[in-house]
Subunit: 237 residues, 2 copies
């Protein structure tokens, strides 16, 4: 089994993914929030890029909730921003949500054509690995990055997934998977310090969101693995 | 001073580099060979992508030498392949060389418009840092990668340069620079083992070229810093 890591979605735009299982990571905060919402009983999340698309998908429905942020601030009139803390059970259970995110949605859509796309994060890492073990295909971990640039926190989480896979399976790593693993192994004992120093970490700290950063890098606190299928995210097997 | 690392040339195709000093790295083996040739007295190297361009630039000249390889094997009829061991003083002193490389040339050409492009490698790392200290502009380290994919050895060398810069200056690292530094710091005490395990390392090992790998990851054994200017590589200041 081969393991590949794309540090940016644009690296894979020309890949044939029909024999590949993808895992998408956007740690601050799209995939962490999606995993949290699904763990709290949310029924479906439709990821879209623009505000216009969000309104179009939600249509006139009074039951579909809207989630999204720009520059880490909740969009006016929306039900949720992009903080995982907002997606609590009392707010999301049995709900349908349309979520507008730029980086996360681009990464998810870049995996179109893959035989399966899983939504990963630090918080469900072990669960993702358990699910990956049920496939025989090669694995591609796709980091969302930020505004088309490398994101440290996504790459570190990719490294965690690689490290877990290596410990369980005979796998073949390409250079980026090995690089991510080296980075994660070096940073794992002071992960909070490293991610606070990252571009997105700095931005969230300036907004007073240290508790959220701490939550986003906690490992294995939920056991669900959302799956992207036919334009929507649902709970996988 | 800001330090950025591009793990692949295509990451920077839309950047305005007019206020940026670039360092290009293609450790296995274009930039290591270029630095070696220039250290041994070579006058100029013109990097081109294709065989056709190499012949076109060399024209009918009997004095211009040709260098290049495909799949790590010297091109038939050429004076040099791409092994740094071939560019010895008795062969290159005062010579003009046209060198065809794919990854290295793409990376070098991607820095067109930069206020300066330096050619770096492990073997001249400290010299590159000394020269970078004479500029006030931001620094962008460009890894050549291999066939448009992330290369571990280039990224590790980028990490070495970042680590040296950090130790000498108050600098501002973006996420990829920080990632490269973390990787290098984690791998530096067993660099040979890590690069042998990389895609290009494996390929060179299969060709029996362990001594070359060892040479390519030796640090600071030459003190020249070639510079790319007006389509040719010459010795910088």
């Amino acid at each position: 089994m081969k393991i590949d890591v794309a540090f940016l979605p644009k690296e894979i735009t020309q890949n044939d993914l029909s024999h590949t299982v993808c895992v998408v990571l956007d740690i601050f905060r799209a995939t962490t929030s999606i995993v949290t919402a699904m763990a709290n009983g949310c029924q479906t999340i439709v990821p879209v890029i623009s505000l216009e698309q969000a309104h179009k998908v939600a249509g006139q429905s009074k039951t579909i909730l809207l989630a999204g942020e720009r520059q880490s601030i909740k969009i006016d009139g929306f039900d949720f921003g992009n903080s995982p803390f907002e997606f609590s059970r009392d707010k999301v259970e049995n709900q349908q949500i349309v979520m507008t995110t730029t980086n996360g949605t681009i990464a998810i859509q870049a995996t179109q054509g893959a035989c399966c796309t899983l939504i990963g994060a630090f918080i469900n890492a072990e669960a993702v690995i358990r699910q990956l073990q049920s496939y025989e295909q090669d694995i591609l971990i796709v980091c969302a990055g930020t505004d088309r640039m490398f994101s440290l926190e996504d790459s570190l989480c990719a490294g965690l997934l690689v490290d877990l896979l290596v410990s369980k399976h005979p796998v073949q790593l390409n250079d980026s998977a090995r690089g991510a693993q080296i980075m994660y192994t070096a940073a794992k004992n002071h992960l909070m310090e490293v991610v606070i120093d990252s571009r997105n970490g700095q931005r969230l700290m300036q907004l007073g969101k240290q508790a959220e950063i701490e939550y986003c890098v906690r490992k294995n606190i939920v056991s669900v693995v959302p799956e992207y299928k036919e334009n929507r995210i649902i709970l996988g097997k």
